[in-house]
Symmetry: C2
């Protein structure tokens, strides 16, 4: 990649191959340090003997209000989840607003209200913030950054590098709901489907999972780029083969229909209330039982396992018994999905 002549493309924000390239060729050479190089959902560090996790995300979702949520609760849930995926208990969040001149104060009020409700539900505090306003047309209504800090209280190391042969992959329910909810609204299909975004804070469920098993290897929320981007990252980081059973993948019928209509593959569509949990098979049953006791985990299932062969790859075993490789998404199927 010749940086000097190139321009930023929409796909550089996809969470797929172009995002990886941008990270590897531009950000990483400058920013490289032991914390960042972990390429986790957040950073893990110790301050005076206390292990902490920190994560950040900017939200640019379009539209700002969508079935099942808005940019505000999405921003709270998203960062709560990213901190949780480090094995941490999220505690404190910051939020930075960039507002467009002329933006409706009533809409901002609704967004802020839903952020507080989401924070209360997750049991975190929004402790500090910042508000910038730019001229009309220099931002699209409102973008929100949330950053979060949490404490790692158990002696565990959760990392995308830790998947090993024999592990199983659990997910806490239907995939692709968030992306389809957004796209339905954007494309005016929201009268033909009642799919809601799955936006939800997963920290309480994850804490219960960590209480019942000390053997969690990987936690990851499959947001941008969907299950395929997340699993490809893990397959590469852990140097393992990831095998998915197509018949086990939980997908809502309406999502299947809408995906077909929009020419999209649910495996590449963003989720905002889902977590992948990779764990030795022996622990799977008790973990599933715990997850299923939570509203956000009641449809939890095993969707595949980790094998030695096909290291670095994600393989889908189809209903017909054939196998196909699920590639990392290359560019951007769904811009501004979160």
């Amino acid at each position: 990649m010749d940086i000097q002549k190139k321009q930023i493309l929409i796909g550089h924000g996809s969470g797929g191959k172009l995002s990886q390239e941008l990270f590897q060729n531009l950000f990483s050479p400058h920013f490289s340090n032991p914390f960042l190089d972990e390429t986790h959902d957040g950073a893990i560090f110790e301050i005076n003997g206390v292990r902490l996790a920190m994560s950040t995300d900017s939200y640019v979702v379009n539209p700002v209000f969508f079935p099942g949520g808005n940019i505000g609760d999405l921003a709270v849930n998203g960062t709560v989840n990213d901190v949780s995926m480090c094995g941490a208990k999220p505690l404190y969040l910051s939020c930075g607003f960039i507002l467009e001149e002329g933006f409706s104060m009533a809409e901002l009020d609704a967004i802020v209200k839903s952020m507080r409700l989401a924070a209360d539900k997750a049991g975190v505090y929004l402790v500090t913030g910042d508000t910038k306003v730019v001229e009309k047309g220099k931002v699209d209504k409102v973008y929100i950054n949330t950053s979060g800090i949490g404490v790692i209280e158990k002696d565990i190391t959760i990392s995308p590098k830790n998947a090993v042969n024999g592990d199983v992959i659990i997910i806490n329910g239907n995939i692709a709901d968030h992306g389809i909810a957004i796209m339905s609204k954007r494309e005016g299909l929201d009268f033909t489907t009642d799919i809601q975004s799955d936006s939800a804070a997963l920290n309480h469920m994850i804490a219960a999972v960590l209480d019942v098993s000390e053997n969690i290897h990987v936690l990851r929320d499959p947001t941008r780029g969907g299950l395929s981007a997340t699993l490809n990252e893990i397959a590469e980081a852990s140097q393992v083969g990831i095998y998915l059973q197509e018949t086990c993948l939980p997908i809502h019928e309406q999502v299947k229909t809408a995906s077909a209509l929009l020419g999209l593959d649910p495996l590449y569509i963003a989720n905002e209330g889902k977590s992948i949990i990779i764990v030795p098979e022996a622990d799977a049953e008790k973990i599933l039982a715990v997850m299923q006791s939570f509203e956000e985990g009641k449809h939890s299932v095993i969707i595949g396992n980790i094998q030695e062969k096909n290291s670095g790859k994600v393989i889908l075993e189809t209903e017909l018994g054939t196998k196909r490789i699920i590639d990392m998404p290359s560019a951007e199927q769904l811009p501004r999905i979160c």
Copy 2:
């Protein structure tokens, strides 16, 4: 303020009266909690016995490159300073980029490089990040959020509420350089002035100040809204009168000229490498000596003091011996200054 009918104005991002109104009438009613209600530059909290400070800022400065810096080092220095103003040692920063489709990768590379250099100089790590890309015209080139976490190692409480009668006000050098550097560039005056932004990390100097005195009452960096916004906030929070000596205010001659040309008052113009230190008079001399030993503090001076009368107000005692009230800026003199 009737939220239901109003729209966001540029002035709501000014750091002045409109910003205060937005915070008090919209953010605070929803977000209110003991951490946020401190209205500090950051939040202070304890995790498992370790006292921490967290701060966040989104940077939307226009132009992205300006005399003395760019949006990247500004974003690092700004958050390092906000964490420092809580009396904390900044340690770890997150950064979130929102990029415009078509933005030059060479410019992004230069920005990212300068962030690393600024982080190294401040002695902090950029540990986690996020990159979003939006369509051309939905953001102006690049906006950056940085959030920072630091540790408070001393048994001190720095707060805008702590200024008391008899304290003096110290500043570490010339005011208004940042705002004038930006405006000169924006207005095409940069051929007639060589004023550079004062963008700098102040954490090393502040740490040395905290080492030499246990009596620091207030630390604050006068950014958006300039010295006037910062001092008005302190006067109100501490319920004291703040008296400034016009003859003591350090202002570069070129800044005076440019301000006059642009119709601006240096007291209302942003700084990005300045700190107000409010401290009992007895400690002032040793603090000044320490500050002056740092490059970023070599022009440190006392600019005024705290009195009981005129509580909540900032008073300028002019060269001619007259007094005038320095109001909180109402709207936005200089949009997108940081």
